[in-house]
């Protein structure tokens, strides 16, 4: 299995390189799909193997011993996230191809998108702190290009905010990596835990905080999130959907690694406070907005808060809940952005002032929105409910009553904002300006609708298969907390 671990990174990269040579649009689309589907196949094979054996699959690049080579480590958490990421990116690609604008607009859309996928996979798999930084750069650079794909005024303005703050993030991250090397003499995840534990308190705390700030910017936690709502709404919807669903989650994933592997259980109060304030501030931002994309963007922040809160609680139960939350939230958020993309494509606007009466025009679209929206608001029996309830249970058993209280209020406010979108965009008179084409909204954009439906279906599958999935999350959480296992798996990998 370990030979397959690297493929979800290498296949998209090869595809990207090929597409620079082959510039025909049809060929590019074909290559993209083949690359993503084959990556998905290999990632799934790894996931199944990890699931069945409970082992950690390790690929040692260059074949050098795990203690000093760059390794790609696919434990429970990584393997499942890679699969989810590939499912999401594949469906979004289908959406983008249906939307046609991005890839017809620029011959670079497909190669850059592939690089983004490779970067995301690499970030999830990296077993080495510096390699993680490189993976971040790959996905960030790709996201810069995608965000400014059309190069119009709005995109340049928001792209600038995004680029500058993420460059700062990169600077902080590489600085943190350099200092961690200075203090420990290694950057390998397997070697770091023991050496970090031996450091004096102050240095350990300083390095820890630097990493938290770096990943906190990426994860968009309070007070480092401000770039997100200003930049995502202007991106092409196929790009913002991936960004919304995946990129912040890469940050959360890294926070999980920091809190479980590198600095286990340290500063958990800080993390928890950050989580709680993030969810509150995010949702307050969301209910202040009048534009669908901005509401949804602020919601990303709020939902990240939940995950960070779970991470702050710590312990096997809460971390399992966090992992489940992470898995559920990726497709939910992405599908909401896709629905928004369809709306914008049809009405030319994402402002609640311009759009209304959509439920009448396209009941199916209404359903496609309602399911993930209610999931996000935590309504049963959808996946969001399970995730939220699991987290609430974790918080209650850790006696974090304030956090749980905030989580509950935030949940209600989430409902408020989802209802705001629903009432504004889906109910009411059909706005005269909306719907350029009055016949069947979805019939016009079959593959956009299909892509959205696949993702919504995926969220439903997560709800139905919650039992085994949660069991997996729970095992992944146990794996995370068992650091020795990780270390020995990497060191003894062959």
């Amino acid at each position: 299995m370990s030979s397959l671990v690297a493929l979800p990174i290498l296949i998209p990269l090869v595809a990207a390189a090929l597409m620079l040579v082959v510039r025909n649009l049809f060929a590019q689309r074909a290559i993209s799909f083949v690359a993503l589907l084959s990556s998905l196949a290999t990632a799934t094979a790894v996931l199944v193997d990890v699931w069945n054996t409970g082992d950690i699959a390790v690929s040692r690049l260059g074949g050098w011993p795990g203690s000093f080579a760059i390794t790609l480590v696919s434990d429970g958490l990584s393997s499942v996230l890679v699969v989810v990421a590939l499912v999401v990116t594949t469906t979004v690609l289908l959406f983008a191809v249906g939307q046609q604008t991005p890839d017809e607009h620029s011959p670079y859309y497909h190669p850059v998108y592939m690089a983004l996928v490779a970067g995301i996979s690499q970030a999830f798999l990296a077993g080495d702190l510096f390699n993680l930084f490189v993976a971040f750069e790959v996905l960030l650079m790709a996201s810069y290009v995608l965000l400014t794909l059309e190069g119009n005024r709005a995109q340049i303005r928001s792209g600038t905010t995004y680029v500058v703050l993420n460059i700062i993030e990169s600077v902080v991250l590489v600085m943190a990596v350099g200092l961690i090397f200075a203090a420990t003499g290694t950057v390998s995840f397997a070697e770091l835990p023991e050496r970090i534990a031996a450091l004096p308190d102050g240095v350990r705390m300083g390095l820890h905080l630097l990493l938290l700030v770096a990943f906190g910017i990426k994860a968009a936690v309070f007070p480092l999130f401000s770039w997100l709502p200003d930049s995502y709404p202007t991106a092409p919807s196929s790009a913002s959907a991936v960004f919304a669903g995946l990129l912040t989650k890469v940050g959360v994933y890294c926070l999980i690694r920091v809190q479980t592997l590198l600095f286990p259980g340290e500063l958990s109060n800080v993390v928890m406070i950050v989580g709680v304030s993030t969810m509150a501030i995010g949702v307050l931002g969301a209910i202040s907005q009048h534009d669908m994309k901005r509401i949804l963007s602020f919601h990303i922040i709020s939902q990240i808060g939940y995950m960070v809160f779970g991470l702050g609680i710590g312990g096997a139960v809460a971390i399992a809940a966090t992992i489940f939350y992470l898995i559920h939230h990726i497709p939910v958020k992405t599908s909401l952005f896709l629905v928004e993309g369809i709306i914008e494509r049809n009405t030319g606007s994402s402002s609640l002032d311009d759009v209304s009466g959509l439920a009448r025009k396209s009941p199916l679209l209404a359903v496609l929105f309602l399911i993930p929206a209610m999931s996000l608001a935590g309504f049963p029996p959808l996946s969001g409910f399970l995730a939220k309830f699991a987290l609430v249970r974790g918080g209650l058993s850790a006696e974090q009553y304030i956090g749980v209280g905030v989580a509950i209020v935030v949940s209600l406010l989430t409902l408020v904002s989802m209802v705001k979108i629903w009432v504004g965009a889906f109910w009411g008179e059909v706005a005269p300006t909306s719907l350029i084409n009055s016949v069947g909204v979805l019939r016009q954009h079959r593959s956009m609708a299909t892509a959205t439906a696949i993702l919504v279906g995926f969220t439903l599958v997560i709800a139905v298969a919650a039992g085994p999935l949660y069991e997996f999350a729970s095992r992944a959480s146990d794996q995370l907390l068992n650091i020795e296992r990780y270390i020995s798996a990497v060191r003894s990998a062959s």
Partner: protein, 131 residues
Amino acid sequence: MSIWAFTLIAVLFAVGSYLLMERSLTRVALGVGVIGNGVNVLIIASGSDAGEAPIIGREGVLADPLPQALVLTAIVIGFALLTFLMTLAWRNWTITGNDEVEDDVEDRMITRRAEQTAKLGDEPHPEDVQT
């Protein structure tokens, strides 16, 4: 670490931070450049002691090659970032005739509305009343 490296790092980070907080994108890019150099010096100065070039066969104490390799990668990535950022500034200029980062329109609107509501004595803006 020598006192000179220490001071150099301090100055580079301070200058870089200062420039990053500017509105002009060119200045921000200069800030990125300065702070990027700061990081490179930081990694080398804190990661290894001075020594001979780490080429096997050379005399003397060889310097630690790993920080050098990391910094090499960081230098190139920094160049990539700067290039893109400057192109962004250039594109900004071709659109607006300046290279300044404007404030986000929607955010300013919310701010304005919040200020208005504060003045009107808690009367909500008509748009904000639920429908």
